[in-house]
Amino acid sequence: MDVTSIGWLTLPLAILGGAIRVSTPFIFVSIGELITEKSGRINLGLEGTLMLGAMAGYGVSYLSGSPWLGVLAAGLAGTAFGLVHGLLCSVKRVNDTAIGISLIVLGTGLAFFFGKPLIEPKAPALPSISLGFWSSVPQVRAASDVNALFFVGILLAFAVYVFLNRTGWGLMLRTVGDSEDAARALGFPVLRVRILATMAGGFLAGIGGSFLSLSYPGSWSEGLSSGQGIMAVALVIFARWRSINALGASLLFGGAGALGPALQGVGVTGYYYLFNAAPYILTLAIMVASTSRAAPFADAPGELKLHR
C-alpha cells in the first residue's frame, strides 16, 4: 500500500461519504412527501417535481450566477407543481395517485423540454463546507466536504418533527390527515390545509432536485434521476410516517448506494450488479426483520388511501 492509497479503509469512508453525498435528495423528497401524506393525500408525482426542480435550479443558477437563487427557483417550481396537484385533487373523486403519476410525465416532459440547452453549460454549483480540516488524509477531507443543504435537511427532519408534534398547526395537519370528519367538526379548513401541505411537499422535492443538479453529481442531464423521486416516496412508508425515521432511512439508503462502487474500488470486482442493488436489498431486509404481522398501514394517516 503506497502513501496515497488507504486501501480497505476507503470502504467505511465511502459509505460515510456516500451517505452524506447521496442521501440529501432522498431526505428532502421523503420529508416533503411525509408532510403531504400527513394531510391525508399522496403525491406520487414527486419524481417529476424532482426533475423539474433539478432543471429549473440549474437553469436559474446558470443564468443568474447564483446557485442559491437556483435552489429557490427549484423550490418555487416544485411549489407550483404542488399547487396544481393540491387544487386538482380538491375536486371531489379525483384520484390523487393517478394525478401524481400524470404529473411525473408532465414534470419530466417540461424538464426535458426546457432543459435541452442546459445540458452542456456549466452552472455555478452550491458550495460545500469543509469539515475535514482536522485531518491530513486527503480522502477524509474529501469525504468530509459536506454540502450545506445536507445540514438543512437534518435540521428539517427535526423541525418537522417538532412542527407535527408540538405545534397547533402540526396538530391541525395531523387531524386533517387522520380524520376529515373530526377536522371539519373542529372547524379546520381541510382543503386549504391539504393544498398547503402538498405545496410544501413540492417545495422540498424541488429543492431535492436542485441538489442533484447543483451539488452532487452536480450537473443537469436527462439521466440525472435514477428514480430517486419514486424511491423517496416509498421511503416514507418505510419510515412509518415519522420524519426522524425518514432521515435515517435516507442516510441508510445513501450509504448503501455507495457500497457498490466502493467494493469495486477495494478490489471486490465481481457481482457488481448485486452489490449495486445493496440499498434495495438492505431496505427490504430491514422491513422484513422489523415488521410483524401488524397491518402494513398501521401507522398511516387515516385518510391516506394509496389504492382506489
Binding site: 503506497d2 496515497t4 492509497s5 488507504i6 486501501g7 476507503t10 469512508l13 465511502a14 461519504g17 456516500g18 453525498r21 447521496v22 426535458f112 435541452k116 440547452p117 445540458i119 452542456e120 456549466k122 480522502q139 474529501a142 469525504a143 442533484l212 452532487y216 453529481p217 452536480g218 450537473s219 442531464s221 436527462e222 439521466g223 440525472l224 435514477s226 430517486q228 448506494g257 455507495a258 457498490g260 462502487p261 466502493a262 469495486q264 474500488g265 477495494v266 478490489g267 470486482t269 465481481g270 457488481y272 450488479y273 449495486n276
Partner: protein
C-alpha cells in the same frame, strides 16, 4: 470467410479527393433535384454531451451537404419502437438510408427491417455484418481505442501516483478494447502503472458515476478516464477532487479547465458520408467499415494546459506511428490480468484484426474483472 474485405485503398482515395474535414463529396451536385433522405435514430437524447451528441453533430454536418435531407428521432428504445420508427422513416418520409446509432438496434431490429425493405440501405454503428445477413446492411465503427491508447500515453506521463482510474459502463468488447488500450498506452510509459476500472453497470447513471470517481480518487488514482455515455459527471467530479482527467466521445475540456489532459473523440461524419455516397452511387453498402485515427474516424481532444512537453511529444509520436502503421496497440507478448497469455510474443493484432471483435479480457496491470 466470404466477407469482402474493406477496400481500404479506394476509401482512402475517396477521402483524399474530398480533402480534409469538412468533407465535401460529390454526391449532391448532380442529383440536387432529388434529395437523398437520411433517417437517423438515437437511443438517447441528442444533447447528452456524449455518445449520442457525437452522432448528432455528424448529423448536423450531414445536413449541410447539398442534396441531403436528414430526419432524426431521439430516445428511440431498442424495442419494437425502433422497427416502427425505421419503417416510419421509410414509408412516411421516403428515407433511402437509415443510420441506426445504438448497439442494441442491430439484432433484431435492423436485421428485420433490412430484410423487409431491400431497397433501403441500413448502416449501423457497432454491429458486425456476417455472411447471410441482408446485403443492404452496412456496419461501421471507429477504432476509438487508438485514441484511447494515446490518452493512456498522456495519462502515463502525467501520473505521479502511478495509478489511473477508469469509470466504465459495462464490460462489452468495444469498451474492453478501449480500456485495455488505455492501460497499454499508460504502461508503455512505465510498466509500474496500474489502471483501476469500476463498472457502473449501465450507460447513464450520473450518481453512481460520481461515486465511482470518488472511490477511484480515494484509492489513489490521480488521472481519471471515463467510458460512459455522458462523461461530463465523471470529468467534473475529478476536477472537483483536484485530479486530472481524460475525456471520451467528445471534448469535455470546458468542464475541467485545470485537469483535462486529452480525450478520445469520434468523428462520425466520415462514415456517414461513405454510406451516403454508396446510396447515391447505387452501390452496395460497405458491410464492415472500420477505421481509426489514420482515416479521420477518431481523434484526440487538444492537450490540456498541464500536459508536459514530453507527454505531448510521446503522444504525437504515437499518433504518427499509428498512422504510419509502424505501431500496433495489441502486440504480443500480452497477458491478461489473470496471468494468461492472450497474444503470444511476435504476434501483432493490428487494428482491423477481427480477433479483437470479441475481446473478453482485461490486460495485465488493470484492476478489475470482466
Amino acid at each position: 470467410m466470404t466477407l469482402k474485405p474493406f477496400d481500404r485503398r479506394s476509401f482512402l482515395q475517396m477521402l483524399a479527393a474530398a480533402g480534409s474535414a469538412p468533407f465535401v463529396l460529390d454526391i449532391g451536385a448532380a442529383h440536387a433535384e432529388t434529395p437523398l433522405t437520411v433517417g437517423i435514430l438515437y437511443s438517447g437524447s441528442k444533447q447528452d454531451y456524449g455518445f449520442n451528441q457525437s452522432h448528432a453533430q455528424a448529423a448536423a454536418a450531414l445536413k449541410k451537404q447539398p442534396g441531403i435531407k436528414v430526419i432524426e428521432e431521439e430516445r428511440v428504445p431498442e424495442t419494437i419502437a425502433a422497427q416502427r420508427s425505421m419503417e416510419g422513416m421509410i414509408r412516411q418520409d421516403g428515407a433511402q438510408l437509415i443510420l441506426a446509432t445504438s448497439f442494441g438496434y442491430f439484432k433484431p431490429h435492423v436485421l428485420e427491417m433490412a430484410a423487409k425493405y431491400p431497397d433501403v440501405t441500413f448502416a449501423h454503428t457497432g454491429g458486425v455484418w456476417t455472411a447471410g445477413m441482408p446485403e443492404n446492411i452496412g456496419t461501421f465503427y471507429a477504432y476509438i481505442f487508438e485514441a484511447q491508447y494515446i490518452s493512456g500515453i498522456v495519462a502515463g506521463h502525467m501520473t505521479k501516483s502511478k495509478k489511473l482510474g477508469l469509470v466504465a459502463a459495462k464490460p462489452t468488447p468495444n469498451l474492453l478494447r478501449s480500456i485495455n488500450a488505455f492501460a497499454i498506452g499508460a504502461r508503455s510509459v512505465d510498466p509500474a502503472i496500474q489502471v483501476q476500472v469500476i463498472f457502473t453497470g449501465d450507460w447513464v447513471l450520473p450518481v453512481r458515476e460520481a461515486e465511482a470517481t470518488n472511490t477511484l480518487v480515494d484509492q489513489g488514482a490521480d488521472v481519471i478516464a471515463a467510458q460512459v455515455d455522458s462523461p461530463k459527471v465523471v470529468i467534473e467530479t475529478a476536477e472537483k477532487r483536484g485530479v486530472m482527467s481524460c475525456g471520451y466521445h467528445s471534448s469535455q475540456a470546458e468542464v475541467a479547465p485545470n485537469g483535462y489532459l486529452t480525450g478520445a473523440e469520434w468523428n462520425w461524419i466520415t462514415p456517414y458520408l461513405v454510406y451516403a455516397g454508396s446510396v447515391r452511387g447505387g452501390k452496395k453498402p460497405e458491410h464492415y467499415l472500420r477505421a481509426g485515427i489514420s482515416d479521420h474516424f477518431v481523434k484526440n481532444s487538444p492537450f490540456g494546459k498541464l500536459v508536459t512537453p514530453e507527454a505531448r511529444a510521446a503522444a504525437d509520436k504515437a499518433r504518427a506511428d499509428l498512422i504510419g502503421g509502424t505501431l500496433v496497440v495489441y502486440s504480443g507478448p500480452l497477458k491478461d490480468n489473470k496471468g494468461n497469455v492472450v497474444i503470444p510474443a511476435g504476434v501483432m493484432q493490428s487494428s482491423n484484426d477481427r480477433a479483437l471483435d470479441g475481446i473478453n479480457y482485461l490486460v495485465e496491470g488493470i484492476i478489475g474483472q470482466v
